[in-house]
């Protein structure tokens, strides 16, 4: 039931996204009128999907509890058991919930400030998140693990999702601002290339790229249910499953070249900004270096997709027993690690859009609201997110105190939420006290996007150590 609604809302958002893109580039008003209506329809469906998932989870909890206790639950016990499993307790659910919050907050902002339909970026983010969620095989609802069975889960988690969503939408408005004021391309170039180099390095797997110039990927097989699942194994002496990674031939050198070229382009663009050189447009060395980096990345991604589509079965080296009843032949598949591939594709798309705008931007006139308005909305959305983030972190600390006897343990998720808090604290302080409105603020807001995504995904991607917040990595 909820899965069908999620899928339906996904296709509705695809239509909404198309409307928003057309509304932005086409001079016909009709797209701008349809977009919000379709978006609202999708939100209704997805809201229904989330509710249905919550009810389903509640029913599962109550049934399991009643069976375990051998008696029916009544009153407050029943209520707490039924609502105590909100629809954001594993990776799949949290993705659907975050995409809903992003789209809802954008929709709310559009109504609140009576904006024309300009939310291409925000709707795009929501669409990507929900699409990523639908790549996860529909997980059964199982009763929560004891560590999560607490009313704190109803208090702590959603605060953070509101904060993440508000920040992501704010980043979208920050981008719109930069576009609206026609920020020169060297400035955006510094920003984009400085961000792209580490993202490609991280997504490619820092250690394998640097030590063996290899891109690593998790091969998949087919399990008993007929589903494609990433290959996991149990190392001897533990019952914690780990993914098996295998080198994808040919991809690593391209990615490494892209990293180096992006870094070089960052330096060249930085020098262009420092010298206040006249807008070099598509002819400067920085532009060509960035273009070369984009080509290298595109080739790497093309080889990767080629290996996924045409590659022969692979034989990963195993030390330990296989988890679950997965059967070969093992192949590279998108389902193996969609997050790393997604980050690479996003970086590629981002730089391609940047290069295209640098070359043909003068011809593109988007009908965006006044820059002051975009700037103000970015700020207002951050003031929505900031207190929720702060309260969410502190609530988590109090919960940790009562559960584990420590309120702060520098767990990766804790640390990254603190980094996010600091980034937006810098935004608020520079704006309110130093008066950094406009461009510098917009840059911080857009950079915040990367920080939030890393805080949300990076920890689950396993880029940092295992933490306490990786309950449902599946």
């Amino acid at each position: 039931m909820s899965r069908t609604l999620f899928t339906l809302s996904f296709y509705t958002y695809v239509v909404a996204f198309t409307d928003y893109v057309l509304g932005l580039v086409s001079s016909r008003r009709i797209w701008r009128r349809i977009g919000p209506i379709v978006l609202g329809l999708g939100l209704l469906m997805q809201g229904g999907a989330l509710l249905s998932r919550w009810v389903q989870a509640g029913r599962t909890e109550v049934t399991a509890m009643e069976a375990a206790l051998g008696r029916p639950l009544h009153g407050l016990d029943w209520l707490m058991t039924a609502v105590g499993h909100p629809p954001y307790t594993n990776f799949y659910e949290s993705l659907t919930f975050l995409s809903f919050m992003v789209l809802f907050i954008y929709f709310w902002a559009e109504r609140r400030w009576k904006l024309p339909a300009i939310g291409t970026v925000a709707v795009g983010i929501g669409l990507l998140l929900l699409g990523r969620a639908l790549l996860v095989p529909n997980p059964e609802v199982t009763p929560l693990v004891p560590a999560l069975k607490s009313y704190w889960i109803l208090i702590h988690v959603w605060n953070l999702f509101i904060a993440y969503a508000a920040f992501l939408v704010a980043a979208g408005f920050g981008m719109a601002y930069l576009f609206r004021v026609e920020t020169p391309s060297p400035e955006i170039g510094v920003f984009l290339t400085t961000l792209a180099a580490p993202v490609v390095l991280l997504a490619g797997g820092v250690r394998s790229l640097l030590s063996r110039a290899a891109f690593q990927m998790c091969p998949t097989g087919v399990n008993a249910g007929g589903r494609i699942a990433p290959l996991h194994f149990l190392p001897p002496g533990t019952d914690k499953a780990q993914r098996v990674f295998s080198d994808v031939p040919g991809v690593g050198p391209f990615l490494l070249a892209a990293v180096v070229l992006y870094a070089a382009a960052a330096v060249l663009y930085f020098r262009a900004v420092r010298r206040h050189a006249p807008e070099p447009g598509p002819h400067g060395p920085a532009f060509w270096t960035a273009a070369a980096a984009t080509v290298a990345l595109a080739l790497g991604v093309a080889v990767l997709f080629g290996q996924i589509a045409l590659g022969a079965p692979v034989l990963p080296s195993l030390s330990g027993s296989l988890e679950r009843d997965l059967t070969g032949p093992w192949r590279f598949a998108l389902a193996g690690n969609p997050d790393a591939i997604g980050l690479l594709v996003l970086t590629l798309a981002g730089s391609a859009v940047f290069l295209a705008i640098t070359s043909f931007g003068a011809r593109l006139k988007l009908d965006l609201p006044a820059p002051e308005k975009l700037d103000d909305i970015t700020y207002r959305l951050i003031t929505v997110g900031f207190p929720f983030l702060f309260v969410g972190i502190v609530m988590g600390a109090i919960w940790a105190h009562f559960s584990w006897g420590r309120y702060w343990g520098w767990d990766p998720k804790e640390t990254w939420s603190l980094i996010t808090l600091f980034v937006y604290a810098v935004y608020l302080h520079t704006r309110v006290t130093l008066g950094w409105t406009g461009k510098p603020g917009a840059f911080i807001a857009v950079a915040g996007f990367a920080v939030v995504i890393f805080c949300y995904l990076g920890v689950n991607l396993g880029l940092t150590g295992e933490g306490l917040h990786t309950y449902g990595a599946g």
Binding site: M65, A68, K149, H401, G405, T415, L434
Partner: protein, 476 residues
């Protein structure tokens, strides 16, 4: 040619010293220091999540990269445990000092704005105010002011009618009204709460103790916990009293997945007397003598698993039950001994099964299997004086307790409460002020400002201006 420093008069030296102090203070109390500090801490945190993600102890790291050229730097900067390294703590201390200086520097000005506002509107002030409109008065200033005050009162303000001014302002009537004065302090309440939270954390760090202990579920006692030093050495920290674990239960759903786990703890006094008893669960700790005992985890100890068997003397239907550890045995009155030798949770497709070794009174031995799912199997099929039924396996656990004492806890918790209050005030309230001035010549000026949520205030101000324009004694 410059005079040597010693030749400078004492006064100049003092001034130079004061200048230096001023410069240091100004830099320290400046937001221009806060921003790089926040960035540095954020960067350090980022590094910290990658530096030693598996939390490996130093001995292991030394074995892995001890020979590398950068190892001395790794040790010097404490990258194995970056969040407790000297330089990270130094950054946090600097941030706290900066916050303190900023508070001392700015708070008086905020008090000035919030508590001693300029209630009589002056022309110089008008330039900095967001909303200003001008009207004409048709009645004497005092009456016009009273009329405006009534309108403000109807909108929930408590306007102050100020007596006519002196000198050039003689005969002029002033009205001042404000709402949400406390809103100016919201940001400072948030910062104050940070002091409480950081102070509590510091107190916990300096005087707090934290450790853990695993205790067998069957009445194990302990009067110490294991603590770990920064370098990874483990030592025993005495509690000052004894705690006994009376029982541990892992509750399960019918499909076998864990539902909840809990331990029965007793605090023992002198002579082994029980002083306090409590069942602790995740999120429900026991507090005694300043120490808090948390149910943190559990570990299975398969070497001490027990099996339940029921032996029925077939002639009399007399039943004997026993719980046996591995290789434990039960001796029947006739001298027959049944010994549990092997357990498997899956015997082909027959489910959990137990292998029993029977030693008869004459010393002869036989061995056979009994099945949990088929309790009558043995009595029906094997033949003999006794029928055995296997009642299931009881796994043996050690309960994992986290034990801590944290003298900063109350500070910290108070800080959280103050933080919520501060955030609510800072982000959801606004200080709104209105000034009205009626000159004897009939000139009326209404000015208003809000320090947040300016859109809503703009609307409110426009409504108010319209209402004033319609008032009897005033004209737009």
């Amino acid at each position: 040619m410059t005079a040597p420093a010693a030749a400078l008069p004492q006064e100049a030296l003092d001034r130079r010293r004061r200048d230096l102090a001023d410069v240091v203070w100004e830099a320290g109390a400046s937001l221009r220091l806060t921003i790089p500090l926040l960035f540095l801490i954020a960067a350090a945190c980022t590094l910290g999540t990658f530096a030693n993600p598996e939390n490996r102890p130093m001995t292991e790291i030394r074995a892995a990269i001890g020979h590398a050229w950068y190892f001395p730097a790794y040790v010097f900067f404490g990258l194995n445990d970056l969040f407790h390294s000297w330089w990270f703590v130094l950054l946090l201390v600097l941030l706290t000092l900066n916050l303190t200086a900023c508070t001392i520097e700015r708070l008086p000005r905020i008090f000035q704005i919030a508590l001693r506002p300029n209630k009589r509107l002056a022309d110089a002030q008008l330039r900095g105010i967001q909303h200003v409109i001008r009207l004409r008065a048709a009645v004497p200033p005092a009456n016009a002011a009273a009329e405006a005050a009534a309108l403000l009162r109807a909108r929930g303000f408590t306007p102050e009618l100020l007596e006519a001014g002196e000198g050039p302002e003689a005969g002029t009537a002033f009205v001042f009204a404000e709402k949400g004065r406390y809103s100016r302090f919201g940001v400072w309440i948030v910062h104050l709460s940070l002091f409480l939270i950081l102070g509590g954390a510091l107190a916990g760090r300096l005087w707090g103790k934290e450790g853990s202990i695993d205790v067998p579920q069957d009445g194990g006692t302990f009067d110490f916990i294991f603590r770990k030093t920064a370098s990874g050495t483990v030592y025993k920290e005495p509690l000052g009293f004894t705690v006994r674990v009376d029982d541990f239960r892992l509750l399960r759903y019918t499909d076998g997945s864990p539902r909840s786990y809990e331990s029965d703890l007793s605090v023992l006094g002198p002579g082994g007397r029980t002083i306090e008893e409590k069942t602790i669960r995740v999120g429900e700790p026991l507090v005694h003598g300043g120490w808090t005992f948390y149910q943190a985890s559990y570990q299975a100890d398969p070497s001490r698993d027990r099996v339940k068997i029921e032996v029925t003397e077939l002639a009399t239907r007399k039943k004997t039950t026993a719980k046996l550890e591995k290789d434990g045995a039960v001796t029947m009155p006739g001298g027959t001994v049944f010994k549990a030798v092997n357990y498997t949770d899956r015997f082909e497709s027959l489910g959990p099964a137990l292998q029993i070794e029977r030693t008869a009174a004459d010393g002869s031995r036989t061995s056979f299997w009994v099945f949990q799912r088929y309790p009558d199997f043995d009595a029906r099929n094997r033949g003999g004086a006794y029928g055995l039924a296997f009642d299931g396996m009881e796994p043996f656990y050690e309960t994992g307790l986290q034990v801590a004492r944290d003298p900063g806890y109350l500070f910290w918790l108070a800080g959280c409460v103050v933080l919520f209050l501060g955030l609510t005030i800072a982000f959801y309230t606004s200080h709104r002020r209105l000034w009205l001035r009626v000159r004897p010549d009939g000139e009326v000026v209404l000015a208003g400002a809000a320090h947040k949520n300016k859109e809503a205030f703009a609307k409110f101000f426009a409504d108010l201006a319209a209402a004033l324009g319609k008032a009897k004694g005033l004209r737009a």
